[in-house]
Symmetry: C2
Subunit: 376 residues, 2 copies
């Protein structure tokens, strides 16, 4: 119906070499430079780091999860605190995932109907229900800067019929979500489904554009499909999205995925990988990955990444991090998380810089060349 | 034999009202104002806090554990790093416990002989041995500022004969430890045993004074005996120690224990309580203890302690801390640990100030009066 006459996105520079671009997304809690990685703070905390540490390592925006926060501590409690920012002591922008993916992950505990999603709490089994309108209302109470609509996530593989039905339902839910968008200045993003069918992706994108959102997300990717298929679907979707609006690839991914997706025109990312892998002792570096418990690091006095300027690399050795990890000391999770998040945020900053200098392809080449070297 | 002609202790002020006193202990890594609480960093980290956070919350010195570090990561590794300070990124003083208490805790896994302690690693069961000389050598390699001698900890209750034998062995070990004290400027403290027998405590103190140490610790207390007996033994020991030297009560204790023991002339303390209780969701406040998972805190927007200026209390509510704890989020352990350690360090600072102003008894009265009020 309505066209996207206003957009929170300001394009700063488009690569002359590929679809990569950099810009600014303006939200109620400030501006975000894109391409951007959003650390995941599912339960009102990015695991094992303080908000001040997040700022210092370069995080511009974090992600919270409507599903989890709805279940615990509940929307009313967070509303009493004036929203998620105040509750968790984070004053920069927050994007809230709608819970579509989490409900999808519940499988047998969830039932999707036209009205919405009925599901059982993963905590106590209590029966709960969220309609698309409920999700926007909860996100409004959370004080989210960027609210994601409720969508239906499609597994891989899925038949064309299953994909068509779920994509159509997502579109109808998107319309209902837009109809209850509050007048608060909070942004609302639509989510493009369409499975692994390019023409369904195109159709889904067009339906969302017709409704009109502040930004467009690619959902239903990184659900087990091969990398090449994910990149193909990203391309097949991004080309049908308006250049005037931010593009967000949900739940992705590895450092390579980020580079490949920025190359294909994506502006925003989130993924648990840097924090989850940190807690499992895996460190991302410019030269590749370190599994810190590896005995080769027992006496290694070097920082995790000699090219890294993060708090962890400035102050601690691989040997000390290995010791902490072997002892299951909480500081291991703290220091590893700081490093990995810094790596992700720095990678994005490097890409922004390369795009501005029109040297993204060269950046990408160097990125891969570095990683072919062994860091061990 | 030799008298304690030099001492690292400078007495600044003695209370006119009781045995409480304040002073300075000078170590290779700087000066410590006493009375002082030493956060416990058993495995080369104070659990869940960074060194910078420790400094900010007022920690002047931390404790490391020779037994644990000897087993993992090993003395050679830490020596390669130039000592514990460099390994763990802490540049203020470190006191290392000798491992006597840990070996005592191993019970069936340990065998004490005249020569030293044979024990099995709690990690892999490997057979290990530490003589009193070995312990000083390991502590020298660790770069400890204050090295504790190996002692034999006596259980409670224990017969007079058992106590006499163990105390005599501790004295012989103390002599052997002193004989191998390095010429590095590192301080060496003796440990007074004597169980719950005042005359054995007196005798043990005199034997250690005759050997001559840089400071004197009270060992074998807080091993299950009633509080009153612990305070009685503290008094019975402290009165026989030289006023010229620092007095350290090992492994103690609650906030009340600290106040009562400073009252009785103790200068130094360590205890796992602030950090361990933090991880169990128990917060120390000026008004008493909060069990943060208690449902009365569900909507409580107040900080843990309205009189506290710590990072946690400046930025977070009881409701948020409860939420984090219920979610088992790592940030719960971080924030609770910062608060509890700040509470302990502030309590010591308050006592130092009161002693200097000759108002320690009034401080103690206020301390108890505050705690009689409910914070809930």
């Amino acid at each position: 119906m309505e066209s996207s006459s206003t957009s929170p996105f300001t394009l700063l520079h488009r690569s002359g070499e590929c679809r990569a671009r950099c810009g600014i997304v303006t939200t109620p809690h400030g501006q975000i430079k894109t391409p951007v990685f959003m650390p995941v703070g599912t339960q009102a905390t990015v695991k094992a780091v303080t908000p001040e540490e997040l700022e210092q390592l370069g995080a511009q925006i974090i992600l919270g999860n409507t599903y989890h926060l709805f279940i615990r501590p509940g929307r009313e409690l967070i509303k009493q605190f004036g929203g998620l920012h105040s509750f968790m002591n984070w004053q920069k922008p927050i994007l809230t995932d709608s819970g579509g993916f989490q409900i999808f992950s519940l499988k047998k505990l969830a039932k999707i109907t036209e009205e919405g999603a009925a599901f059982q709490s993963h905590l106590d089994g209590s029966k709960l229900f969220l309609s698309p309108e409920d999700v926007v209302a909860v996100e409004t109470d959370l004080g989210s800067d960027i609210m994601m609509v409720l969508d239906t996530c499609i597994p891989w593989p899925a038949s064309r019929e299953e994909t068509e039905n779920a994509t159509a339902l997502t579109a109808r839910w998107a319309r209902r979500s837009k109809d209850v968008k509050p007048e608060t200045g909070q942004l609302l993003f639509g989510i493009v489904q369409g499975g692994m069918y390019p023409e369904l992706r195109k159709q889904a994108a067009q339906e969302l554009i017709d409704i009109g959102f502040d930004g467009y997300a690619l959902g239903g990717l990184s659900v087990g499909e091969p990398k090449e298929l994910m990149y193909e679907m990203t391309e097949a979707t991004v080309q049908h999205l308006p250049e005037s609006h931010p593009v967000y690839l949900m739940g992705v991914g590895t450092p390579e995925d980020l580079v490949e997706s920025v190359f294909r025109g994506v502006d925003m990312f989130d993924c648990v990988m840097p924090t989850r892998n940190a807690r499992n002792g895996m460190l991302f570096t410019s030269r590749g990955r370190l599994v810190i418990k590896n005995s080769i690091f027992k006496n290694d006095q070097r920082p995790p990444d000699e090219k890294c300027g993060c708090y962890t690399c400035r102050n601690y050795s691989r040997a000390y991090l290995r010791h902490l990890f072997m002892c299951r000391e909480i500081l291991a999770y703290q220091l590893n998380s700081i490093h990995n998040l810094h790596y992700y945020c720095s990678l994005m900053a490097g890409m922004r810089n390369a795009i501005e200098e029109d040297s993204f392809l060269s950046f990408r080449d160097t990125f891969y060349a570095m990683r072919d070297q062994s860091s061990e």
